[in-house]
């Protein structure tokens, strides 16, 4: 009986974890953005910035 209750509790808790884990895929979004911008602005020479780091602050830093 105790086992059963533990199992049920686990079954209830697991979906909650799943919900929390649906995070925004920032790196994938940057990749998608780069692809679309290259197409729209026709920046075909992708060699300019081959290793753009995925880690970047949310707001654009002053340059």
């Amino acid at each position: 009986m105790k086992n059963w209750i533990t199992g049920l509790a686990l079954a209830c808790a697991l979906p909650a974890c799943v919900t929390i884990n649906i995070y925004f895929p920032a790196a994938a979004a940057e990749k998608a953005a780069d692809k679309i911008i290259d197409d729209v602005w026709q920046l075909k020479n992708g060699a300019e910035k081959p290793n753009v780091k995925a880690v970047e602050p949310a707001s654009a830093p002053a340059k």
Partner: protein, 139 residues
């Protein structure tokens, strides 16, 4: 009873695994709606390119564009510029929304928009203007 519990667990792990895979994969950007918006923006860029270079328009920090200095554009062309900017912004807003919905997460729209905002500015040519924290900045 054990059998039911086992099948429930199996079902849950399947759900979990599929969600994880979806989150790890690339974003879907090849839908017909997204391609159509891209095509329209690509065509419009022929017109807007010169205006970015002259500083008439600039990239805003929220992933759109805005008229920055209408005075560099001849009076007769200003109406056309304004409508091109409005059309571009409508396309951009639609693009962000379409990417979010194409990936099953409409709530991602704003995050996608802010991701694009940074990337547009990053990929802008030297001399173009973008909105910094305290106003227009020339790249």
């Amino acid at each position: 009873m054990k059998k039911i519990l086992l099948s429930l667990l199996l079902l849950l792990s399947t759900v979990f695994a599929s969600q994880f895979v979806a989150a790890a994969a690339d974003l879907e950007v090849n839908t017909p709606a997204i391609s159509a918006i891209k095509g329209s923006m690509q065509a419009r860029h022929g017109q807007l390119g010169a205006h970015y270079a002259s500083g008439a328009i600039g990239l805003t920090k929220d992933g759109l564009i805005a008229v920055r200095d209408a005075n560099v554009v001849p009076l007769k062309d200003r109406a056309a510029l304004n409508s091109a900017v409005a059309a571009e912004n409508a396309d951009r807003a639609n693009l962000y929304k379409e990417i979010a919905t194409a990936n099953g997460h409409p709530e991602w729209q704003l995050e996608i928009q802010s991701t694009f905002a940074g990337r547009w500015i990053d990929k802008a040519q030297g001399g173009w203007y973008y909105q910094g924290a305290s106003g227009w900045v020339q790249k």
